[in-house]
Amino acid sequence: MTFTRGFRGRRARDPRLPPGQYDVGADWPVLTAEATPTLSTATWSFNIEGLVEQPVKWTWDEIRALPGSDYAGDIHCVTTWSKLGVSFHGVSVDTLLAAARPMPSAGYVLATSHTGYTTNLPLADVTGGKAWVVWDFEGQPLGREHGGPARLLVPHLYFWKSAKWVSGLRLLDHDEPGFWERNGYHDRGDPWLEQRYQGD
């Protein structure tokens, strides 16, 4: 390990912070490569397609009528900020996949957004209570700069995997790199392993 002359660093590091992350506190930085879209809930939809027995498409009212689910915990952005102790409300991806019934050959998902953004994940990272489609943050409607009306939430991975303005999941039998992944970022993105970039 190479030390930096004169650097001592801030003490009292929160054990909830993965390596290389800092606590952003009350702020919530917005990092998006695209223009912020204005999406109407009247025309919003979310669909699951690809390797499923029953492709399904939900409207805004339909998805909100499903049994709800909450996440309370931390989120970690690859740009090194983490936001600790936050809460979201929406629906578990498990609930959505139960309706679509993934085929045994499905091993990966490509999440898509209404803007054209994409991100890829192993299917195992969005099942078993680890992923949500969320529309409330701290009890309030999710702001559109943060992905409202609804975004994907996969809080155990770096936050670019939690696609803003999410429009659906496509189930695949192979890993298909999404937007940031084609631009040098890691295919999985586990913050505790610091999987930030391709090759990490």
Partner: protein, 246 residues
């Protein structure tokens, strides 16, 4: 709409940043009262594109680490040196250390280049709009254009609150650049202080141009609205946002 946000190359050619490496600080320049440029000599030269960034990682004697990413301000070249301009954030752990402790001759650990989206390769028309320290990656693009004699391809608009906050003040002016001040202007400046508006855009947009917008999230949204209002499709606008929102 699934293909509009794609760049980079075919599978297998994904850009990968290099490994962590040591870099020696060869020069430090004060750009504004709160911004310094650090010129770093890389131990392993790392070719980069205009618009990319590097990470700086600090390590304490007990192993504690902190890292941040900073845009490259210098033009791509083969000198094995990069320049990073760093704004001193009042509570910034890394920027405070860089500003208050680091001296010429120090070694810093860096990694890069990073980013394959917000890059200009030097051969297509582009409109660049930067707010405050958002000028940094755009400066790399402007320097590249000037050095390669392709100034005709670029138009740069930079917005700052007041003259003392303008980075690269001596180098920026030229037929490609427009400087706007939102709070106070230099004496007898032809434009009144005020926010970016469509009238600040340099003439009709080239329909082939790509937009590069860098600044705070609020600035980025405002600049995107101006470009879109002037006829640039949103899918031609690339955005790099930084800083917290309320």
């Amino acid at each position: 709409m699934t293909e509009q946000l794609s760049d980079a190359g075919p599978p297998g050619s994904f850009p990968r940043p290099g490994k962590w490496q040591q870099a020696r600080v060869t020069e430090i320049r004060q750009e504004t009262p709160t911004a310094k440029t650090f010129r770093l000599a890389l131990s392993e030269p790392a070719p980069y594109l205009a618009g990319q960034h590097f990470l700086i990682r600090l390590t304490a004697p007990d192993g504690y680490r902190a890292q941040r990413s900073y845009s490259v301000a210098s033009a791509p070249g083969d000198s094995g040196e990069i320049e990073l301009t760093v704004e001193h954030l009042p509570d910034g752990e890394v920027s405070s250390f860089l500003h208050e402790v680091v001296m010429v001759g120090d070694e810093l650990e860096v990694r890069g280049p990073i980013g394959g989206w917000f890059v200009w390769r030097g051969d297509t028309p582009a409109v660049l709009i930067g707010g405050g320290s958002g000028i940094v990656p755009l400066m790399s693009m402007l320097r590249l254009a000037r050095r390669s004699g392709r100034q005709d391809l670029l138009r740069l608009v930079v917005s700052v609150r007041r003259p003392a906050e303008l980075y690269y003040a001596a180098e920026l002016p030229g037929p490609q650049t427009t400087i706007i001040y939102t709070r106070s202007t230099p004496p007898s400046w032809p434009r009144l202080a005020g926010r970016l508006s469509p009238a600040d855009l340099p003439g009709p947009l080239n329909p082939e141009a790509t937009g590069f917008v860098c600044g705070s999230s609020g600035f980025a949204d405002a600049a995107t609205t101006v470009l879109h209002g002037a006829g640039m499709p949103v899918e031609r606008i690339r955005i790099e946002r930084f800083g917290p929102t309320g």
